[in-house]
């Protein structure tokens, strides 16, 4: 009898998981199948492989300078990620390791900034970028995202697991503070870095609102802006839209799958 219930429970669990997996995968499947169909078939709701993949790719390539657009997105995402990791890990490390009277007050103020919606910052930020003459440059997209309070928070939490004995031993051995950070902390925390890399890269790659506001010309645009623009036609070419959506999704998928193991480790805590 017990065995029967166990099997039933196992079956139900699988049924639930299969449904959940299907629901998560379905939009991707729809996107991939859509890329092979004509616009008319897609709006008719056809679900199956079609023969229009090549035509769709050609019309998307005709629509925008695709290599340049992908390069723009990649450049912004990578530079944002590198700068953010550098700044946020130093900040998180500093907040956790060095004691000072103001430390926790400062930290609270930092966390409070997480609650300000971006829409409220947009106009002042835009004026700042205007005064710096950075509008329509990629730096205008990159610079405001570097001081990410969330990633600083994430690094500080992870640093709590960093054994202070390591630091003390390094100090006894005569390392300077920056050497301890670079030579001891960074290698020990590499899973944390990997997880943060995935998070920041994906956010930067998918960033839409701010690049939309500050990027003004066709040659500085990112892939998300191009997807939005191609999908906004009075009668969109849905086939080309699906191709653009695949191109916009693929890099984040690749990054995630490449770093999946480190990502999970980083989430669980770098130091075992």
């Amino acid at each position: 009898m017990d065995l029967y219930f166990q099997r039933l429970r196992g079956g139900l669990v699988y049924l639930f998981l299969i449904t959940a997996a299907f629901l998560s995968i379905f939009p991707f499947l729809w996107m991939v199948l859509g890329a092979t169909n004509t616009s008319a078939d897609i709006s008719r709701g056809k679900f199956g492989l079609g023969g229009a993949l090549f035509d769709n790719i050609v019309s998307f390539l005709a629509f925008a300078d695709v290599p340049l657009i992908l390069w723009n997105s990649l450049k912004i995402a990578l530079l944002t990620t590198l700068f953010t990791l550098a700044v946020a890990s130093i900040a998180g490390y500093g907040f956790e390791i060095f004691r000072s009277r103001l430390r926790d007050r400062l930290y609270r103020v930092l966390l409070l900034t997480l609650m300000i919606p971006f829409a409220a910052l947009m106009i002042p930020l835009f004026i700042m970028m205007g005064k710096l003459h950075l509008i329509n440059t990629h730096w205008a997209v990159i610079l405001p995202s570097i001081g990410s309070a969330f990633i600083i928070f994430y690094f500080r939490q992870s640093t709590k697991a960093f054994p202070l004995e390591l630091r003390d031993a390094a100090r006894v051995d005569g390392l300077k503070e920056w050497q301890i950070f670079l030579l001891i902390y960074v290698p020990v925390m590499r899973s944390t870095y990997a997880a943060a890399f995935v998070i920041v890269f994906m956010t930067a790659w998918n960033n839409y609102l701010w690049p939309l506001i500050v990027l003004q010309s066709n040659d500085t645009k990112t892939i998300t802006l191009v997807v939005s623009s191609i999908a906004s036609a009075y009668y969109p070419d849905y086939g080309a839209v699906m191709v653009s959506a695949i191109l916009a999704t693929l890099p984040t998928l690749i990054v995630f799958f490449l770093m999946q193991r480190q990502f999970v480790q980083g989430m669980l805590g770098s130091v075992k």
Partner: protein, 422 residues
């Protein structure tokens, strides 16, 4: 010493980047244009630029395409922040939103009243971009409406194309019921959460959500009331196939499902893209509302070009718009044939492209008809808050379809609209 490194490094990065990524300072006469839809507005503007550049080789064009909502967000940010060098020289604005921009940002757009001969354009297109006697737009594409119908389905139900002319809405619904009964095809596709049909009917009745003075016009609006009553009848009669969203709605007729479509002329290209339905379509005037002064012509959507006052090439931009969009009849033939765009310059209808008998529509001269109807579209003040009131109307359509009272719906729309625009 140490402290100085960081600011210097940052300054170096900023300087380096400015030279690396910044757009090189605009050349003397480059006109930058923001608009949406690569196949329509962008293609048309590039065509216009190419024609102008032939006689003005010193002027170049930079047409940048963003989604419509994106153009609006960028324009709004640029105007609010006052960072005017971020703005383009010419921008496309949808007609329903024109008054909002003109009245919220006085002085930001360049009046063209002295330059452009507005008497040559469809009057309603001029009225919507006029504030206190000054007109700010170069009127562009029209959303003049028509009733596209499937001749084969109508005939299978025992009617002729002559029966589709000069319809009232009641007669239209009657025909719809017969068509559904005899052929199994619904008369039209209708998104019960979209107020487009209401706007078409209301404007054909000569009224809008706002009075000429810009005051909210809901409870005493006879055209809106008649439109809501008609929409309720359509929804309750069962002749409408419900559609969820735009692409689903387009699918109702591209798939050959429904017997008619009532919408703006810009849909013609989509209708004609269904090659298997060649020779099966006809176009008639839209049905008329049963109120005094109602006409068989209306408008849905459409947009116009505006020149920003902050532009350093604004005189070139105004001259460009006036030369091409304000005078060039041949240009209008090109964009009618190429993009299916019906402009608002009345004399464009005298060109050869408008006289073509379209084989897809069984040889009907549909463009001549649309040009006739264009002149009949009632002029109105679209006001500042069309989109806000539209949302209030849309939220009342599903209850109407279930048999709710029109007076209750009007009261609810009035209340919701008042709270939204305060």
């Amino acid at each position: 010493m140490k402290k100085a490194i960081l600011p210097r490094a940052l300054a170096a990065i900023a300087l380096g980047s400015a030279s690396l990524f910044a757009m090189t300072a605009a050349q003397a006469k480059e006109i930058t244009i923001w608009c949406w839809d690569p196949n329509f507005n962008v293609a048309i503007m590039k065509e216009a630029g190419a024609i102008y550049a032939k006689t003005h080789p010193d002027v170049t064009f930079n047409v940048v395409d963003f989604a419509k909502a994106d153009v609006e967000a960028k324009l709004q940010t640029g105007l609010v922040s006052g960072v005017t060098d971020s703005l383009p020289d010419i921008v496309l604005i949808e007609d329903y939103g024109a008054q909002k921009y003109l009245q919220s940002f006085p002085g930001s757009f360049e009046p063209m009243t002295g330059t452009v001969d507005y008497s040559k354009f469809a009057p309603y297109k001029v009225a919507l971009a006029t504030v206190e006697g000054e007109t700010y737009s170069m009127p562009f594409d029209s959303g003049v409406t028509g009733l596209y119908y499937r001749k084969d389905y109508i005939e299978a139900a025992g009617f002729t194309p002559a029966d589709m002319q000069n319809l009232t809405w009641d007669r239209y619904i009657e025909i719809g019921k017969t068509v559904l009964e005899k052929t199994g095809h619904h008369m039209l596709g209708l998104d019960p959460n979209d107020a487009g049909m209401i706007r078409i009917m209301m404007q054909s009745g000569g009224e809008w959500y706002f009075t000429e003075d810009g005051d909210l016009n809901i409870s005493g609006n006879a055209a809106l009331k008649a439109a809501l009553e008609t929409e309720a009848k359509i929804l309750q009669s069962g002749i409408a196939k419900p559609a969820a969203g735009w692409s689903n709605w387009v699918g109702t007729f591209t798939s050959g499902d429904v017997a008619s479509v009532i919408t703006g002329v810009w849909i013609t290209g989509t209708v004609k893209a269904t090659l298997d339905q060649e020779n099966k379509w006809g176009v008639a005037p839209i049905p008329t509302l049963d109120i005094p002064g109602a006409v068989a012509a209306s408008n849905l959507g459409g947009s116009s070009w505006y020149v920003l006052s902050s532009s350093d090439v604004k005189s070139e931009a105004v001259d460009f718009l006036n030369e091409i969009y304000g005078k060039d009849v041949d240009f209008y033939q090109k964009i009618l044939t190429g993009q299916g765009a019906v402009g608002s310059l009345m004399e464009a209808r005298n060109g050869p492209a408008y006289a073509v008998a379209d084989p897809f529509f069984g040889g009907e001269k549909i463009w001549q008809n649309f040009a006739d109807w264009l002149a009949m579209v009632p002029s109105l003040n679209y006001g500042i808050f069309t989109n806000e009131v539209d949302a209030a109307v849309a939220s009342q359509l599903p209850p109407l379809g279930k048999g709710g009272s029109v007076d209750d719906a009007l009261a609810a729309i009035e209340a919701q609209a008042r709270s939204a625009i305060q």
